[in-house]
């Protein structure tokens, strides 16, 4: 249970940033 919590919390911390990097790259490519 503890591992699951830490795993989810870690994803909540880092994934938005990672996803954002992809989104920003996609948006830039679309604009270009």
């Amino acid at each position: 249970f503890d591992e699951i919590i830490v795993d989810i919390a870690t994803k909540r911390k880092w994934y938005p940033r990672k996803i954002l990097e992809c989104v920003i790259r996609t948006l830039k490519a679309q604009l270009e």
Binding site: K11, R12, Y15, P16, I19, L20, V23, I24, L27, Q30, L31
Partner: protein, 173 residues
């Protein structure tokens, strides 16, 4: 206004104090009564050693945990975050448990930028096309004028040509 690190140290110190107070020398000698009666000084020294060793071990453990998890820096940064957010009184946002939902706000600022950039591009292009359209209309008018001119000249020539033919017929006659 104590920092979390100081609070932590204070709590551990208090915990140790109370633990040692609970395991008082009195209690210790009660438990090791016979040995205490045989060797009171030795018992005192063993008890003192017990207390100092326990305190040292526990404090070392706390230092190790602080070291390992860089806990001091983390707690200090939490102090700063809390300090910065203290004006905000109502409960703050928390993850909803639906990542897609939570991501909306993360991505939204960039979509807004994208939308604004696209709006600018569209407006700029529309303005340019407006100019081009006017140029095309003007060009159409000009073509029309030229066509009329050419037509007029052509008709004049055709009239001339007719007269020429008349002339020729006359001359030939």
């Amino acid at each position: 206004t104590m920092s979390r690190v100081e609070l932590l140290d204070t709590m551990v110190d208090t915990f140790l104090e109370k633990l040692v107070a609970a395991g008082s020398y009195q209690r210790f000698t009660d438990c090791y009564k016979h040995f205490y009666q045989l060797q009171p000084e030795m018992t005192q020294r063993i008890y003192d050693k017990f207390v100092s060793q326990l305190q040292t071990s526990i404090r070392e453990e706390i230092s190790e945990i602080k070291e390992e998890g860089n806990l001091e820096a983390v707690l200090n940064s939490l102090d700063r975050i809390v300090e910065e957010g203290k004006e905000h009184q109502e409960p703050a946002w928390r993850p909803s448990g639906i990542p897609e939902k939570d991501l909306c706000s993360t991505v939204a600022p960039y979509l807004l930028q994208q939308r604004d950039a696209l709006r600018r591009h569209v407006q700029k292009q529309e303005a340019k096309n407006q100019e081009l359209a006017s140029a095309v209309l003007a060009g159409r008018r000009q073509v029309e004028e030229l066509q009329q001119q050419v037509q007029a000249r052509q008709q004049a020539w055709q009239a001339l040509h007719r007269e020429q033919r008349e002339l020729l017929s006359v001359l030939r006659a």
